[in-house]
Symmetry: D2
Subunit: 305 residues, 4 copies
């Protein structure tokens, strides 16, 4: 299989919930249109931002179907779904379903209860990837959540030549030595998608072309401007924009982590409801404080519209 | 609800698989008889040893049903099933099923992808426990696998008075200060089950009465003798037996961890097949080495029969 | 060299400072008398509690000399000095000095900047121990501070037969499997001193006879009563006393850690001044709160006098 | 004090030892000439690479004096000495000595036994910096060795306006969000020196101008070429050179870590002897293997000469 490289921003959408905490699939069509409007090239659904681990198997399928339906007339927009979890049979079930729905690619992360070493990880990747021949398969590297801190350089060497549809890695970790080594491997064979929005610039200089992230949901113009500044060799501007992204991202730490993302979505007018437990949402009082802090970092000037 | 205290050994059974890696439920009846013969008081199924995380939802239910059927005429033998995972809806589904099947108790562990703090953990415990009113609910504390290292003393204080069927904790961690504090809380209200076979003696002296573990599957006489020695104040003997248990457990480290347990089961003649990926099983060559090492630690003299 | 086993409590004294933060050696004589009065069998000086790492080489020597002088007529009382640090030449210098002063034993911990593996650690132990032939040499195992988490069972196996004056280990870690394995090794050849006051009871049942700790400075009666209760097989009482020790120790966490110890010393009337930076001391306001909390855990009933 | 910014490469020299493991100060003059020849702008002595923690106080002073003497006629070449350790009195002694010797700057790292939080760290920085008024003071951030993982953005905010000679940070950590935030702070007031040779390119794009590292000792041309390529906007070449640096650095992991550096020095003909314990040196057999691997990564083409 010829590996195609993704260029530009892929958003990791939030999964919209209604007031009772049930899936709100009716929002997906608007969500897609919103991302397109902000020059986003695809959606990485059911991932960390999308609370895939908090959804049932059926919900993950319904969510994938909704995105397949919403994007069915758009050959350019790439929908990738995460099928990771601890039960491989479920992963294969979801991957097969994704392929049947015509999604662009499947992503998979390491089982995160019994944590595999590099060889066991290569083996499980193969089992899932082989279930969807011809469909691009990405490994999702996020050791801070999975606890599986295998160097991707070692994984690529372990799978090389053994998994025909292994496309690359969504790299949500901060090991640039490993990341550049992966980019360099076999003349840049693999598609390495950067997953840390707060230091995209340090990945761009290494040759990274595509990125997957959660803040691209609500601040796409900031990052598209950052990429343009980099490509125009205007590094002063690129740094300034990256620092703005950092100031915004620092608010996630201040307001309780991943759930803050849905608060940003409320601000831009695409209400995705709340996160499910065990993630805790902001109280109303905190949300008011949050809004004033958001203005302080210039959000109005670079938010998605 | 009046909390009943468990006394003696609860085994955490392996989930029997056939040669194709499918559930081998036909073994459950023999497994139960075998445990009974070795003076085991109950079974903690679908846990870490039971590969619950590697089973589908349906498989976990079928497994629970098989244990319910095998033990239906035995009022003394306690079957506890772990319903933990990252999706709370699945946990509630499994807990409700366990109650309908008439199992003794439900156990639950912290969601292990998005890791809750103590307050969020108390909240998720309540949601699952409230779904099975009247059925004992245990929290399963195993931070080495979940990455959720909340002190149980803090959890018990957070839930106290709020979850009527919260029975206690299966404590698979080595924080004896925390463990004794839990035992002391409210005049010993909670049932604290020790989960580290290799240092049971250090828990007994603190007043621990019940224990849940994987090596009780194949070396029950060793531990029953250890408890008897302790109760007879024969501490020299108790230490000697604990050291034997350690020598045996050290083989798990040497031969690859949790999968070694199913190798022990082959030795005692109750073949449970292999572990599913991502856990790797011993090769045949390693198994031969393992067998000779097992004799070296005196396994023949204290194995379950 | 015949290894002698230490029985009973060894206190790890605070290093007394004057109001300017200089050594207050004049207090050592009273300190020694105070420990004797409370049935303490020895002093482990210049350790963690003693801020050895915050003292200059000369100060450590002066401190050792003061303890040597104070105890020179007492053949029973054992003074052990820690000579650990990152520079081996300094460690050898201090060990040689300790031997010249006639102290009972030297203790050494792993260099904690470049962290050795077990073989390198065995090598450095030998270099220091060989500088003081005939003087008991203890390894001080405290991975939470050194970051060197080598199993002591592995270290003892690595040094066995190679260091004639290796007496044993001050074990300040919570791995009872490792601890019992060390106690069992070669028919109990090594002197294993327990270093976690908050779970002494779990070590006693394994056969531990000696203990080194900081809370024995100010609450010796509590622990001597605990040991007596254990030896009388009155386990209910032993647990109750251990829980009292835990309640007291929990105050250290609440009031900022190691510096809280010197606050306890003020309460019992042996003012050792303040900790040096980087350790921060309690403010006066916090000290008032602390005093009321201390009464709440029954400190008056079991404090050293 | 006006903060001057360092531009270009600062090497962190190895401390030369003779065959008996004693300081070989006679090599310092040649070492300096060698660094100059390879367009190195300064030397960061007594640091991690320089085994400062394994030297006695007197040795650190003698080493500083030798570098002061060797560079006394060179106003451009900057010698910075690390005075960090766990005893603040020693640090102040060394800093005062460095100032008296006319070195360019003093660096200090967090005490690494009792690990301070950000406020205590700011306090200890002030105490050491205040002892050398007018001399640039750098904080050396290397959490992988000190275990003190305070964000430098927080430290700079904590000390800002309180330490007049605080010049900046030697940043040996991979948190580019924190690093860029420090670069951005108060219009780039602080001198942020990059300390991870293997991803210098990702720091250059953020505006980093100076770097301190160990591989600049023996592969300076590689990095000077990398910087030139970056400044010429030839990013393809810059990436290729960074990848070469990574391939070389991967050999450090393969051959045992920091001690591999002295093996590289032997290859370029400036024999610095061996590392002191607890660091272990390569055996002769390993050294032969190492030499062939070194050729495989193209070392001859970019080594210092």
């Amino acid at each position: 299989m010829k590996i195609q490289k993704i260029q530009g921003l892929i958003a990791a959408p939030f999964t919209a919930m209604d007031v009772e905490g049930k899936l709100n699939l009716s929002l997906v069509k608007d969500y897609y249109a919103f991302l397109k409007r902000n020059d986003i090239k695809g959606a990485f659904i059911n991932g960390s931002t999308g609370e895939g681990v908090s959804l049932t198997l059926d919900e993950k399928k319904l969510h994938a179907e909704a995105w397949a339906a919403a994007t069915k007339d758009d050959d350019e927009f790439k929908v990738i779904t995460l099928v990771g979890g601890t039960c491989l049979a479920d992963c294969i079930d979801l991957a097969t379903h994704a392929q049947a729905q015509g999604l662009y690619a499947t992503a998979f992360t390491a089982p995160f209860y019994f944590k595999p070493n590099v060889n066991a990880l290569a083996e499980v990747c193969k089992i899932v990837a082989d279930a969807i021949p011809g469909m691009p398969f990405y490994y999702y590297h996020i050791p801070v959540l999975t606890g599986v801190n295998v160097a991707m350089y070692d994984l690529l060497n372990a799978i090389d030549g053994k998994i025909e549809n292994f496309a690359g890695v969504k790299y949500t970790h901060e090991d640039f030595m490993d990341f550049l080594s992966c980019l360099s491997l076999e003349n840049g064979k693999y598609d390495m998608l950067w997953g840390r929005d707060e230091n995209m610039l340090s990945a761009l200089i290494l040759g990274s072309k595509g990125a997957v992230g959660s803040t691209y949901n609500y601040a796409a113009p900031l990052y598209n401007n950052l990429i343009a500044a980099y490509e125009n060799n205007d590094f002063e501007l690129a740094r300034k924009l990256q620092q703005q992204s950092i100031d915004m991202i620092r608010l996630l730490g201040k307001y309780g982590g991943i759930a803050t993302g849905k608060a940003f979505m409320k601000l831009i007018g695409l209400d995705c409801g709340e996160f499910r437990l065990p993630v805790k949402n902001m109280t109303k009082e905190r949300f008011e404080l949050f809004k004033s802090d958001v203005d302080g970092v210039g959000f109005q000037s670079f938010k998605s519209v």
